[in-house]
Structure formats: structure tokens, C-alpha cells
């Protein structure tokens, strides 16, 4: 800031050194705040003016500085005006991109399932009985698509109650209940469960095989439709669902199906290990 004694109000005494301690002003401790209000224009203006030289030596400089200031203000102002419109269009653009990508994922996943069905057919033709795994092992492992009779279990959130939202643990209990009831293959919303399928929570969504699902959850299980349904209703899975529907308004229903087709678990596959 520099010195500006000429514009200082007469009633303010400023401590300039240890010798001035005796005449310390009452508000001396607020010197910083006072100086902000006192020295509002750079004191050099007064100093140069009183020196009486260089009043208008560099007119170009002043124009340039003004030009820079104008550019800064306007550029920033124009950007501010555009920003809101930009944000809206960028948001729509992003939503479209997300939708398109999701659709593409769906297509590719369907294609992947189709291809693995073909692979497994070709394998069966080529290898015949020499297939490394026996058929029950292939079914249990989730490597191949399977078909057969079974049940379709539909579970829906209770939209009116935040506690009535299905979480990962609910689906795990249901899956375990179905295995216990004798299911030979299970899929949740089209994701086949295998030994490596994780049912987990990610934020508000339940993920199966690391893909988020939403309500309603369609759980398909292959097995004897009658026995499977009644066994499930009687075991831990069924009682878990009854508890949820009684206390939180979760809805669920079991339908018998004569023919279900479950794709293979897309999450299976090995990166490093080979057959010894």
C-alpha cells in the first residue's frame, strides 16, 4: 500500500514503531481493517501527482489496459450467459449417449449369449462324449445355457415405503432358498447365477454380476415346478419373503413355467489358469 499520511483522518494515529507506543490509538488493533477503508486508491496516484511529472506520458498504455479489462469482462460475461444453455444441451446430449450405450450393451450381451450358445453346440458336436465336463457339471457351473421346466418368481419393491426396497441381502436369501429347494439353475433378470456371481448393493441399486438391476426382479429357477415352488415357500427363502411382504409391503408371486431358457453366466471365464 505504501504511505498515505495526507489522506489519513486527523483523529487516527497509527503506530509506526516502538517509540509511538505511548500515543497508540484506541483502534490500533484494527489497523488492517482501517487501512482497507482508508487507502482505497493506490497512494502512488497522489505521490506521482504531487511529484508533478508523468501525468500523461503513455496514453496507449491506458487504452491497452482498458481494452484488456473490456475483453476480460465481456468474455467472462458472454460465457456466463452461454453456460446455462450449454449445460442443458450438454445434459440432454449425455442422456442420449447413456441411453444409446445402454442399448448397445443390451445388444452386445444378447449377441454374447447367442454366441456362447453356438459355441456350446459346436463343442458338443465336435467333442461328443470327450467333453471335459459332464452334462450335470456343465449345468451346475453355469457355463452353458440350459432349458427346462421351472418357476418364475417375481418380487417388487413397495414404492410407498423406503423400507420396502429390495436389497442385495433379500435376493441372496431368495437365491439360497431356491438352491435349497432343489433348483438346478437360477437367473435374476436374465443374469445366470453361478459360483462366481456376486449379488451386491451399489448405492441404491442391487447388482448381480456387477450389473445394476431395478424392480421388479424376475427370478427364474429350473427344477420340478411343483416341488420347487412348495419347497421354496416352506424354507428360509420363502419365510424371508413372507416377512418382507408382511412388514414392508413387498409383493412377490410364484408362477409355474413349463419351459424356461436360462443363458450362461457371462461373468465366467478364466484369464490366467489353464488345465494341468
Amino acid at each position: 500500500m505504501g504511505d498515505a499520511t495526507d489522506r489519513r483522518p486527523p483523529d487516527v494515529t497509527v503506530v509506526t514503531g516502538p517509540s509511538a507506543r505511548t500515543e497508540r490509538a484506541l483502534d490500533a488493533s484494527m489497523e488492517l481493517l482501517n487501512s482497507i477503508q482508508r487507502d482505497t486508491i493506490d497512494p502512488e496516484y497522489a505521490a506521482v501527482a504531487s511529484g508533478g511529472h508523468g501525468r500523461s506520458r503513455a496514453p496507449v498504455l491506458v487504452v491497452v489496459i482498458g481494452l484488456i479489462a473490456g475483453l476480460m469482462f465481456t468474455t467472462s460475461g458472454l460465457r456466463g450467459g452461454l453456460r446455462a444453455a450449454d449445460a442443458v444441451s450438454a445434459r440432454t446430449e449425455l442422456i442420449t449417449q447413456i441411453d444409446q450405450t445402454e442399448q448397445r450393451i443390451q445388444e452386445l450381451r444378447a449377441q454374447g449369449n447367442q454366441l456362447s450358445i453356438e459355441i456350446e453346440q459346436i463343442e458338443r458336436e465336435q467333442l461328443g462324449d470327450a467333453h471335459v465336463l459332464s452334462e450335470p457339471d456343465l449345468v451346475w457351473s453355469g457355463l452353458i445355457s440350459v432349458s427346462g421346466p421351472g418357476i418364475l418368481l417375481t418380487i417388487s419393491d413397495n414404492p410407498k415405503d423406503a423400507n420396502g426396497t429390495i436389497v442385495d441381502q433379500d435376493l441372496r436369501e431368495v437365491a439360497n432358498g431356491l438352491w435349497l429347494a432343489g433348483a438346478e439353475a437360477i437367473s435374476i433378470n436374465g443374469h445366470r447365477l453361478s459360483a462366481r456371481t456376486a449379488i451386491r448393493q451399489a448405492g441404491a441399486a442391487v447388482t448381480v454380476d456387477y450389473r445394476s438391476l431395478t424392480t421388479p426382479y424376475r427370478i427364474e429357477a429350473i427344477g420340478d415346478p411343483g416341488a420347487l415352488g412348495s419347497a421354496f415357500t416352506g424354507n428360509s427363502g420363502g419365510s424371508w419373503l413372507s416377512f418382507l411382504s408382511r412388514n414392508y409391503g413387498v409383493t412377490w408371486a410364484i408362477e409355474r413355467r413349463s419351459e424356461l431358457l436360462l443363458g450362461p453366466d457371462a461373468g465366467l471365464g478364466v484369464d490366467h489358469a489353464g488345465v494341468a
Binding site: G54, V62, G66, A69, G70
Partner: protein, 110 residues
Amino acid sequence: MLAIIGLILGVVLAVVFRPEMPFWLQPYLPIMIVAAMDALVGAARASLKHTFSDRVFAVSFISNVAIAAVIVWVGDLIGVGSQLSTAVLVVLGIRIFTNAAEIRRSVLRA
């Protein structure tokens, strides 16, 4: 007067050419603008008091803007983020208001 001509010229140029602001400058620009406003208002008051000087105006403008940018940069660097910018805004805001009030008094006598 020349400064006002420059200012108008700058506004016109910016509207006509729509210069794209360098991306790295964007976080600094708001506080640099406040610093520039402070220098401009200070210069306006000085010119009303007939103490305006080109050299002081140029130096105070450039140093104000540069210091404002540096403070934001340092604030980000040491992790206080926008708080240091707030300090600068408070100080410059007080100065701008005081100067504007002073200009108002000397122009309108009120």
C-alpha cells in the same frame, strides 16, 4: 477518458470476435475481474481528484490482476481452496464500495 475508450473497444472486440478463453485461465478469471474492477474504480476516483497517472494505473491494474490470480493459485495449491479467494473478494469489495461511494459523492454531491 482514454481508458473508457479502451474499455469500449475491448467490449466491442470481445462481442465481435468471441475470443475463446484459455481453459487454464478459467478458475482465475472471476477474481481477476474483481481485481480489475478495483483498479478501474480506483483510477476513476483518482482522475476525479485530478491525480490520475497512466503509469500508476497500468502498474496497479496489472499487479492487482496478477496478484489476484496468484492468490487463487496458491489457495488451490495449499488446499484452502476458495477461502483465500473469499478473503480477496472481501477486501477488494470493500475497496470498490468505498471508492464508488467517494466517486458518487464528488459527482453527485450526495
